[in-house]
């Protein structure tokens, strides 16, 4: 049988391999999963679940190899009373993976039927062990959700996303960089009107430099180049730089909104009242 194989060479050679501390399937009824099906009641080499099995490899079911209080005393497997008792008793076993049905004495040759397992499902939360584990899982889940939420602050201490930049008459033709370091925008003016470019490279978000002598925006990160109106023509940038919404307030000052952005194709959605540009 399997036990004849050489055990882990790191361990002392022993005729019978030492078993891990987990409750192994008891000789009776408790069937190991697929690889080596063993008929219940068939004589088996000792697979002691714990260091000192009472009697090595008892072939007869009513005395399972687990020396534990978990074994119901009354050998009346079919009686409903025993079915009630078994799960409670099983809770005393210090580790979980064994189906309690497997620990209950069963008539030889009956195999493990689905019926006893069903009876256990009914009392899932009534078993102390399951109750505790469900509680722990619940707390951990709550904790994980709270932990996740913790990383999303409610208030931010960031530059305002809506602000005024003065009057249109303050700006001449060309690119004005005076709000670059505080608001990350350039105020630009051409024959169509005044517009505000968001100073964010459309490649991966660095701030390009305005090179006045060359009349170009160049991004120091990966070399994208844009013309005076923010249209990309070299480097990895996939599209022109976006423009911020601009409006005139009641006093005639220009209000910029850096959260309302216009991408290429919508650049002429403006006019006298504002939008992608203000006709001034």
């Amino acid at each position: 049988m399997a036990d004849d194989k050489n055990p882990d060479p790191n361990r002392p050679a022993m005729p019978k391999p030492p078993m891990p501390a987990m409750p192994a399937p008891p000789a009776a009824g408790g069937m190991p999963k697929p690889p080596t099906p063993v008929a219940p009641g068939m004589p088996k080499p000792p697979t002691p679940a714990m260091p000192a099995p009472p009697a090595a490899g008892l072939p007869k079911p009513p005395a399972p190899a687990v020396p534990s209080a978990a074994v119901p005393v009354a050998p009346k497997p079919a009686a409903p009373a025993a079915a009630q008792k078994a799960p409670a008793a099983a809770a005393a076993i210090p580790a979980n993976p064994v189906n309690p049905a497997a620990l209950r004495p069963q008539p030889p040759k009956s195999g493990v039927s689905a019926e006893p397992a069903k009876a256990d499902e009914k009392g899932l939360l009534l078993r102390r062990r399951d109750f505790v584990w469900h509680g722990v899982a619940g707390m951990l889940t709550l904790g994980a959700v709270a932990f996740g939420r913790f990383f999303f602050p409610r208030s931010l201490f960031e530059p305002r996303t809506s602000f005024t930049i003065g009057y249109a008459s303050d700006y001449g033709f060309g690119v004005d960089t005076k709000f670059q370091s505080t608001q990350r925008i350039w105020v630009c003016r051409n024959s169509q009107g005044l517009f505000v470019i968001l100073a964010v490279c459309t490649h991966l978000g660095c701030t390009p430099d305005w090179l006045a002598t060359e009349g170009l925006f160049k991004c120091p990160c990966h070399g994208s180049v844009y013309d005076t109106e923010g249209k990309n023509f070299a480097g990895p940038a996939p599209m022109p730089m976006r423009r911020c919404d601009v409006r005139l307030d009641a006093t005639g000052r220009i209000v910029v909104d850096t959260l309302t952005l216009y991408e290429v194709g919508r650049f002429n959605e403006g006019g006298p009242t504002g939008g992608a540009y203000i006709a001034v």
Partner: protein, 279 residues
């Protein structure tokens, strides 16, 4: 005996007497002369050494089998932990102050520049050795069962090593790190489902103010919150996570047949299923 001893005369114990004394014996629990048994005991009775087997396969010490890369990577992690903790004594993770602290470390703190350079070079080296270690494991086929679990632990360790490097990059708060982290976190916008510009992100209601990038930065821009978060991930959270993974990694190496060793023979009925059985 006490009657024969002259009063008030204290004599320093000799080395030989010390070795017989209780203090010595409480520290060194066994004899130290070079016998195979004592050498094994030295490993087995020491909490640090006992992570290592007392006896190893002779192939395990052959450099052409392992390149020693895992060990070097671990050594570099120790160097980084020690130099990193030293840097923490002078470093404040706040905007403006962070950069000044780096300048201060480099130009004024005794051995500050040396410590910083050690940290930086070891960080570069650790990235390289981690990859080389992975490459070696691939070449020797050591990712195959029963070591496939440890390969996956290794992939996580690689990930966390890279994250250590990425989070450390922002800490000097200089132009290089700032823009590198700007670019790196902008990529996170494109995360599927969780990023505001990734597949399904906008449809699920993600914006620059609630997506995964926002959680990384603690805001919508790389600013003070991002610096503090990078600092905590870098100096506390990721080192702890990586240490736990290393513990599992090293434990698993021994359980899976040790360095360069044959896979352990398992008992058939202990294996969990036909797949594991075949392996």
């Amino acid at each position: 005996m006490s009657e024969t001893k002259p009063k008030n005369k204290f004599k320093l114990p000799t080395a030989a007497e010390l070795k017989e004394g209780q203090i010595w014996k409480s520290v060194f629990r066994h004899k130290l002369d070079e016998t195979p048994r004592n050498r094994s005991l030295a490993v087995l009775s020491n909490v640090f050494l006992h992570l290592h087997p007392a006896k190893i396969n002779r192939d395990a010490v052959r450099y052409n089998y392992t390149w020693g890369m895992g060990g070097i990577t671990f050594y570099l992690f120790l160097v980084l932990t020690i130099t990193g903790v030293l840097l923490m004594f002078y470093y404040h993770p706040s905007k403006g102050q962070a950069y000044r602290d780096i300048m201060y470390l480099m130009h004024d703190v005794p051995f500050g520049n040396f410590t910083r350079n050690m940290h930086r070079w070891a960080a570069h080296a650790m990235i390289i050795t981690t990859w080389l270690h992975m490459f070696r494991v691939f070449l020797t086929g050591s990712y195959k069962p029963p070591r496939e679990f440890n390969w996956n632990i290794g992939v996580l360790l690689l990930l966390f090593t890279m994250l250590l490097s990425f989070t450390g990059y922002l800490l000097p708060d200089d132009q290089l790190g700032f823009w590198a982290v700007t670019v790196g976190t902008n990529m996170a916008r494109a995360t599927p489902v969780m990023g505001s510009e990734g597949p399904f992100g906008p449809q699920l209601g993600f914006t620059a103010f609630n997506d995964v990038r926002f959680a990384i930065l603690g805001g919508s821009i790389v600013d003070a919150n991002a610096l503090l978060r990078a600092y905590i991930w870098h100096c506390v959270a990721i080192p702890i996570i990586a240490s736990v993974l290393m513990i599992v990694h090293f434990w698993r190496i021994r359980k899976d047949g040790a360095i360069s060793g044959p896979a352990p023979v398992m008992i058939e009925q202990d294996l969990s299923g036909p797949v594991a059985k075949k392996a």
